[in-house]
Point group: C2
Chain length 202, copies 2
DNA sequence: GGGGTTATGTTGACAGTGTCAAGATCATTC
DNA sequence: GAATGATCTTGACACTGTCAACATAACCCC
């Protein structure tokens, strides 16, 4: 029996994830169909169902993978900056991930899984852990530089919302102008820093 | 001929938009199918195609309507606050619109139209005008209160990104906790105000 | 090794989707 | 009153996710 004509694929689970990522990058979530994916993996339409409960589960698996990647970037950034908090670098790295992996980012934070679909237990855990780590790390970076009456966790969440908003605007095709995008993110950082340097609020 | 059995609907265009909004609110974009919509309007599957080129065009029309609503809210807010800029109120109003009309907001700013679909020329115009108005209005609110070296337009865009990010997080089902959401948005406003009150940046 | 169990892969089928083509009906206009 | 265009209908097609039933291979225990 030749290797090409064997009945069992042997590594379909991983192959599916890999090919799915390829299709995702090429045509977006809306262009990712299980049937095309199966064909691409050289397997029949329903074979993927033996490895993922349904399409939603597959997408959750992709998102989980992506969270691991972003997690690593965030952790590395938080470790590197160490005692000398560099929010600018942090934001740049975060934005870089989102703009270089727009479809993954969409999957991680978009309504496809969180609202329309049903996020896997696994995805929920990974995502929440990621949120927590992010918030804690960032609030550690901000420690002692906050305006009076500010809650470090809330500040971290608010500034994350800012960065996230920038990512969404870019990813969703609203800021088509790359130059504008950079200027705006630059200004966002400046804004955050200005807030941090102020010692008074009301 | 009875009114119920007449061949021509008479007001299908508007009826479609209205019923589409109902379906949108009830089941989201992903639950809005042209066939269900046609049935709901008491008309055959392909009748809508005589009033909208395709599904994308119908969704663009819905988004255009929604932009008009948000536009009005923004304009009213900017006029009301007048000489006494009240960013807090502005943010609250914006967030209110988004949380009360989540599906419309998704349509207005989501990838459904801007990335996956093809935004109508009309939608583009309305949207860009809305963006511009928003940015100009907000930057007028901020005038004279900015940290040195800040570009008012950029600040407006950056703070819009913050608000937009909060909206997305809520709408996409990531901040399920309403209480958290309010605290974070509160903090975001505080952050912006703190930045404005600071006279120095870097 | 042989037989039963489980994992994996296949074909067939179904309901649902957007959309095109061709024809039916009505409203309007010359 | 006939012709033209707007509106609506049925029929059809390709595509989607997913279930049921069956086929094949791998694995494990006696």
């Amino acid at each position: 029996m030749t290797q090409n004509a064997r009945y069992h694929h042997g590594d379909l689970h991983d192959t599916l994830l890999q090919e799915a990522n390829t299709l995702l990058n090429a045509h977006g979530v809306e262009g990712l169909s299980l049937r095309k994916l199966a064909e691409r993996a050289g397997v029949s339409r329903t074979a993927p169902y033996h490895h993922f409960r349904d399409k939603n589960a597959l997408l959750c698996a992709l998102a989980t993978q992506a969270f691991a990647q972003l997690d690593e970037i965030i952790q590395r950034q938080l470790d590197t900056t160490g005692n000398q908090p560099d929010i600018q670098a942090f934001v740049i790295e975060y934005l870089r991930f989102a703009t270089e992996n727009p479809e993954q980012y969409e999957l991680m934070f978009g309504r496809t899984l969180w609202k329309s679909g049903e996020p896997t237990q696994e995805l929920k855990q990974v995502a929440y852990r990621s949120f927590r780590r992010y918030a804690e790390g960032l609030s550690a970076l901000l420690q002692g530089r906050l305006p009076q009456g500010s809650n470090p966790l809330r500040v971290a969440q608010a500034s994350w919302a800012t960065i996230h908003g920038l990512c969404r605007l870019t990813i969703d095709g609203i800021y088509v102008n790359q130059e504008d995008m950079e200027a705006v993110s630059q200004q966002a950082v400046t804004l955050i820093l200005a807030a941090l340097n102020s010692t008074k609020n009301d």
